[in-house]
């Protein structure tokens, strides 16, 4: 478990918000097929910006 934890921390920097936010951004971009591609790009970037903002509110590690 420690090894898995270390790998997780290495990839995410110990953040819980970052991987969830990234997964949401990818899912949204994949699902929003009805929107035009520029809007899909905007949604994708918007969710990443939101993730960065929420992630920076996490406890400093």
């Amino acid at each position: 478990m420690n090894a898995l934890r270390e790998i997780y921390d290495f990839i995410t920097g110990g953040s819980i918000v970052s991987p969830i936010g990234l997964a949401c951004a990818i899912a949204a971009a994949m699902l929003a097929t009805h929107a035009n591609t520029a809007l899909r790009a905007g949604i994708f970037v918007g969710i990443i910006v939101l993730t960065l903002a929420l992630g920076s509110r996490e406890k400093a590690t």
């Binding site: 790009a41 960065l52 400093a60």
Partner: protein, 238 residues
């Protein structure tokens, strides 16, 4: 993507990792002798060379670019976000500035008490191997979607190695004066922006300005990071 931008990004990202490795090797060299320190570093570099030789041929497959973008892009976003988050925390005072002098002193204190030279060897090996592996990943991933520009990526890392080694030889002391947080913030911005661009391309998104969108992304993320830093600073002073 402009090859020089790619090379510059690789240079900065590699330099940060190499400064950390050089600090550890210097600490081992001063306390347990340069032979122990350099032997550990040399073995680490040999192990890295084998790994890079195995991963290298993967870059030649042009057809896998979309998949590579989808695999590499999210990792770059996560790495970039982690670096940028820490830079924001440090700039706003929520986390102590990364201090190479403190790391150096801590390594020296541990090593002075160690009788066994193997501790020095292992420390030097681990420091160079882990940081070197990160450099190798940076070089490989940065050029993964543009194999024809691998030379720029390698050039960036080689120049970073030359600069850091020359600086280490000249200073023979940790690089406490390097504004590490500023470099980490810039690297975080670049990783996040390139990761966003590549993941988006892998998902089939049409970027507003093609590859040049990366510059708009850098400006956007920089503005968000600056706003977050100022916000946390103002809260801390209230």
């Amino acid at each position: 993507m402009n090859g020089w931008v790619l090379g510059g990004t690789t240079f900065l990202a590699s330099a940060v990792e190499m400064v950390e490795a050089a600090t550890i090797v210097l600490a081992v060299g001063i306390t347990q002798g340069w032979r122990t320190a350099l032997t550990g570093a040399a073995w680490a570099l040999a192990a890295l060379a084998v790994i890079v030789a195995i991963l290298g041929p993967l870059l030649a497959r042009q057809g896998a670019i979309t998949w590579l973008e989808l695999i590499v892009g999210p990792f770059m976003i996560l790495f970039g976000m982690a670096w940028l988050r820490k830079a924001i925390w440090r700039a706003s005072g929520r986390k102590a500035m990364h201090d190479e002098r403190a790391i150096f002193d801590r390594e020296v204190a541990v090593l002075r008490n160690a009788r066994d030279k193997r501790v020095g060897f292992a420390t030097s090996f681990q420091g160079v191997f882990v940081e070197g592996l990160e450099v190798a990943v940076i070089v490989v991933t940065f050029a993964a979607t543009q194999p024809q520009q691998l030379a720029y990526s390698i050039l960036g890392a080689v120049l970073a190695a030359v600069v850091v080694v020359l600086a280490a030889l000249a200073l023979r002391a940790p690089f406490a004066r390097v504004p590490e947080n500023a470099i980490k913030a810039i690297v975080g911005l670049m990783l996040l922006s390139l990761g966003t661009l590549w993941t988006g391309e892998g998902l089939g998104l049409a970027w507003w300005a093609g590859d040049a969108t990366v510059f708009y992304l850098i400006m956007l993320y920089a503005a968000v990071a600056a706003a977050l830093t100022l916000s946390y600073r103002s809260r801390a002073t209230v």
